[in-house]
Structure formats: structure tokens, C-alpha cells
């Protein structure tokens, strides 16, 4: 899922300071899974914001809504019924959702409530870790299912570097060395000779390097 974390309250309170009535919108997908912006979190943030305003002798009316997702225009459209009563919108979705709301409601200020972080998976309850950076050219078949772009601190395709210590990265002793993980997998699969095949320099055009990306499926476009 796409993971995110709520921004510090100080930052949120400051950006909402000029307003009295806002629409606070959560998302039922990724940010719900990582407990950052689902219905529960909308309720807690709404209460926290209102108390912060009340403390200063001000009021903040918060209309709480949680959409199925914010990255599809059909769902964002559901905000139409309440958008006019709000002076501003605060979205608890990832950056994709915030932008879709801004695109649809051009005259309404939209603010992010969370910092979108990475594409990752749950390691266990309450712990999410980065797994993918969307490089656009997946090499997981060559590396035993462990991504060197997302999980190696130096995104080496022919690692490990000389700083790998006890299976951990030189940057942080809690961070796994991706190449140790890759090697362990290659061994478990009995394909160690795969390791010595040098992987060629990456073409970053499939990733961020080529500019913002788009996928068009002609068979699905109406």
C-alpha cells in the first residue's frame, strides 16, 4: 500500500488558522491500512483540531467524510454535496487523493493532512516498510524477490557494498542489507550463480527520470 503519516499538529493547525468551516476527508484504502487517514483517524483529527481551536477561543466546524478512495474521480465527485459549505478541504489521503480533490474543486483550497511516504508492505501489525519505488522496470525476478532499488540504501544493482555488516546496512543497524536478503534468497532457491551475472546500468526513463508518467490503456479508454 501507499503509506503515510499524519503531519505534526502544529503544522495542521497553522494552515487551517484562517478558516472556520472545513471538510475533512479520509480515504478507505491505503491510508486506512496504515492507520494514517481512514475513518478512525478522521474522527481523531477532527476532535484534535476542534479542541486546538477551542483552546484559542476560536471555533472550527469540521464536516467529516471518508471516501472509498480519493484517486478516482467518481468517488471525489461525492464531495459535491458538502463542498460549498466548506471554506477549505483537508484531505487525509496520500498525495494522489489530495491532488484529485484540488483538480476537481478548483476554487477550493485543499491541504494535505499527511506526509505520503512510500509504497510498502506490513511487516507486522503497526510496522510498515518500504518495498517498491516504482522504477518502472521490475528486476525482482533476477534478485530472488527482493528489490535492490527500494531496499538498498545506495540502490546498487550489483551489491553489496563494503559497508554491509552482519546483514545490516551501514546507515542503520536496524536496516536490513538488501543484498544480504537477495543472497539468502538466491541460496534458498539454489541459484547462487545468478549473483555473478552483472546487471547493466539502469535506464531511468521508465522511472521518475523520464518525467511524470502516464499509462494509457486504449482498450479501456471510452
Amino acid at each position: 500500500m501507499i503509506t503515510a503519516e499524519r503531519k505534526p499538529m502544529e503544522e495542521l493547525i497553522e494552515c487551517l488558522a484562517p478558516y472556520h468551516r472545513i471538510l475533512l476527508v479520509g480515504c478507505n484504502e491505503c491510508v486506512t491500512v496504515c492507520s494514517a487517514g481512514g475513518r478512525k483517524e478522521v474522527g481523531i483529527l477532527s476532535s484534535a483540531l476542534q479542541m486546538a481551536f477551542m483552546k484559542e477561543g476560536k471555533t472550527l466546524e469540521v464536516k467529516e467524510m471518508t471516501l472509498e478512495r480519493q484517486c478516482d474521480p467518481e468517488y471525489v465527485e461525492e464531495l459535491v454535496t458538502h463542498i460549498d459549505q466548506a471554506e477549505a478541504v483537508m484531505s487525509m489521503a496520500c498525495g494522489c487523493g489530495v491532488q484529485e480533490i484540488a483538480r476537481r474543486f478548483k476554487a477550493k483550497p485543499v491541504f494535505p493532512a499527511v506526509n505520503t511516504t512510500f509504497m510498502g508492505a506490513s511487516e507486522r501489525q503497526g510496522v510498515w516498510a518500504e518495498r517498491c519505488q516504482g522504477c518502472g522496470e521490475c528486476v525482482l525476478g533476477l534478485t530472488g524477490g527482493v528489490c535492490p532499488i527500494a531496499r538498498c540504501s545506495k540502490q546498487l544493482l550489483n551489491g553489496p557494498c563494503g559497508g554491509s555488516t552482519n546483514g545490516k546496512c551501514e546507515v542503520d543497524s536496524d536496516m536490513d542489507c538488501a543484498w544480504q536478503l537477495i543472497w539468502d534468497r538466491l541460496k534458498a532457491l539454489g541459484i547462487e550463480d545468478q549473483y555473478e551475472k552483472n546487471i547493466a546500468a539502469k535506464d531511468w526513463r521508465t522511472g521518475r527520470g523520464g518525467g511524470p508518467r502516464k499509462i494509457i490503456r486504449e482498450d479501456l479508454v471510452k
Binding site: P160, S164, T165, N166, E170, W183, A200, A201, K202
Partner: protein, 309 residues
């Protein structure tokens, strides 16, 4: 011969090669690098210049190499993949070669986390293995990494690093094989204190005949104090300092520790001379460059061959 490099000529002659290294200054003070290099002149065949080592900004390795070349010495341009993309790297290689610098050491580089700009973007457009391959193709095919022809391709003598002491140990010979496949001409190892482990690695290297495909130089760093020994043991990733070394350093009074450290280094060199596949020594005396001449002399590595640049 693939290049005009002095270092390549020394290896080809069958003599043990000797290199050392200099760290450029943390400011626009060329006198500092010139002073360090002068201490080494006549005692080494070539001098490495580090590239933003430990991710701390210093005068660029390229610029510092130019000063060293102007002293009539042979520089080894260290370049990390952390700070530049492939365009900048190829551009710098053309520039360096045009200044008469024809040795390069290809490295990934320490993570910015360690340095004075932890907030900087980590480039790593290519990794050290791909970097070696890129320079080899520039030299031998006369082509840029993107495929176009190069006018007067740079004939660089290509080096890479090897760390037999990093984990996982079982991969360290295979990683050397990868670098050799990519086109490495010479290797400088991480500094060696655990001679047994190093010899074990060399065994693995020889088993696959890799010692004949690349010139391996053993890394040596003299300990100045027992504090330094402990620091390197506990705080530097990829470093293996056996307890006996700590004991030896701790066993002598403070004023005698530098001498003990040099003794340990000289003994290591003597032992490593006998190891088949060792083609030279890379003496790294960080901020202690003035001791390199003494170490080289006591290890019986003088005189250095005189080869014209």
C-alpha cells in the same frame, strides 16, 4: 599495455607497486594537498585522492589530482557514484584525462548519513560495477555509455575496491569476480588487520584464478593510538580489527603507541609479500601522511622504479 599509466607499467614489470592516498582540504586551500603529496614523492608510484570521503564535502578529487599531476606525480582519481550521474562522471573523466590523469578508482561511496550533508540526494545513477564497465567501454570501444563515439577516448587504468572483511564473507570472492568481469585492472583492498581472514579470502581468489586477472594491492593503515584501534574496531562498518592488535597497542605506553602501530604495519607488509597474488601495497595513513615514507622504507619497498610520466 592498455594505457600509459605509470602504475600499469610497474605492475607489468613484475615489481610490487606502492600507492598511498591524500585527502583534499575542506576548503579552497590547494597548499594543503600539495604539501601532503610532496611528502610522498619518490616513495610511491601513484597517489589516490579521495572523493568527498565519508560524505564530507572537500575540494574535488579531480581538482586535487590536477595539483598533484603538476608536481610530476601520478594521481589516482577516486570517484564515487553517490554524488554524480553518468553524464557528470564521463565529463569528469574526459577532463581528468586531458590533464594527464590516467588512473581511476571506482567506488560507490559512503552514505550521506555519515557526512556533513545528510539531507543531500543520493545519486547512484550507476553502481561501482557498472561504473567500471562504463570506463572500460570508453577506453576499449571508444564509446560513451549512451553509445556515441568519443573523440580521443581516455585510456584510463581502472581500479576498484575490495573489502574481504565486509559481510557476507562468502560473497566477497564472487563480488571480486563481478568487478573483474566488468573490466577492473587493479584492486585496492580495505585496510588489513586480520591477516588470517585476508589470507583465507586470497585462497578463494586464487582458487578461481582471479589473482591472475587483476592486480591486487593490499591495503595497510598504521594505527596511531589504541583509541584509534578501538574506534576502527567498533565504529567503522566493514572493518575487522582482531583483539591481538588492540592488546598490542594497549600494551605499550602512549608515547610508544605510534611506533607500535608502524611496527604492526611493517610486519603485515612483510607477511603479505609472501602471499601469492599480492601485486602491491596501498598505504593509507589518514592525516599521518608523513609516516608513509618510513613505512615504505622499513618494509623494504624502496627504491621505487623511476618511470617517466
Amino acid at each position: 599495455m592498455k594505457t600509459e599509466s605509470v602504475l600499469e607499467k610497474v605492475f607489468a614489470s613484475g615489481e610490487l607497486a606502492v600507492t598511498s592516498e591524500c585527502g583534499p582540504p575542506r576548503g579552497a586551500v590547494p597548499e594543503k594537498i600539495i604539501e601532503k603529496a610532496k611528502m610522498l614523492k619518490g616513495y610511491v608510484d601513484a597517489v589516490n585522492v579521495t572523493d568527498n570521503q565519508t560524505a564530507m564535502v572537500r575540494m574535488s578529487s579531480f581538482a586535487a589530482c590536477v595539483f598533484i599531476r603538476q608536481l610530476g606525480m601520478s594521481p589516482i582519481l577516486q570517484m564515487v557514484t553517490r554524488d554524480r550521474n553518468r553524464l557528470a562522471m564521463q565529463a569528469d573523466i574526459l577532463g581528468a584525462y586531458s590533464h594527464g590523469i590516467d588512473n581511476i578508482l571506482c567506488l560507490s561511496g559512503d552514505h550521506p548519513h555519515f557526512g556533513d550533508h545528510p539531507m543531500a540526494a543520493n545519486v547512484h545513477d550507476i553502481d561501482s560495477v557498472q561504473f567500471v564497465q562504463m570506463i572500460r567501454d570508453m577506453r576499449d570501444k571508444g564509446k560513451f555509455q549512451g553509445g556515441d563515439d568519443i573523440l580521443n577516448p581516455p585510456k584510463m587504468f581502472i581500479g576498484a575496491a575490495a573489502n574481504p572483511f565486509a559481510d557476507p564473507f562468502e560473497l566477497r570472492v564472487a563480488r571480486l569476480a563481478k568487478k573483474i568481469k566488468a573490466g577492473t585492472d587493479f584492486i585496492q583492498t580495505q585496510c588489513i588487520y586480520n591477516l588470517d581472514k585476508f589470507e583465507k579470502w586470497m585462497e578463494g581468489v586464487r582458487d578461481r584464478g582471479l589473482h591472475e586477472k587483476v592486480n591486487i594491492m593490499a591495503g595497510i593503515t598504521p594505527m596511531k593510538t589504541v583509541g584509534m584501534a578501538k574506534y576502527m574496531k567498533n565504529r567503522v562498518p566493514g572493518m575487522d580489527v582482531p583483539d591481538e592488535i588492540i592488546k598490542r597497542m594497549a600494551g605499550v605506553p602512549k608515547e610508544k603507541q605510534p611506533e607500535e602501530g608502524i611496527k604492526i604495519s611493517v610486519e603485515a607488509i612483510e607477511r603479505l609479500k609472501a602471499v601469492e597474488g599480492i601485486k602491491g601495497f596501498h598505504v593509507m595513513a589518514i592525516e599521518w601522511e608523513q609516516k608513509v615514507p618510513e613505512i615504505v622504507e622499513r618494509a623494504g619497498l624502496l627504491p621505487r622504479p623511476t618511470i617517466d610520466l
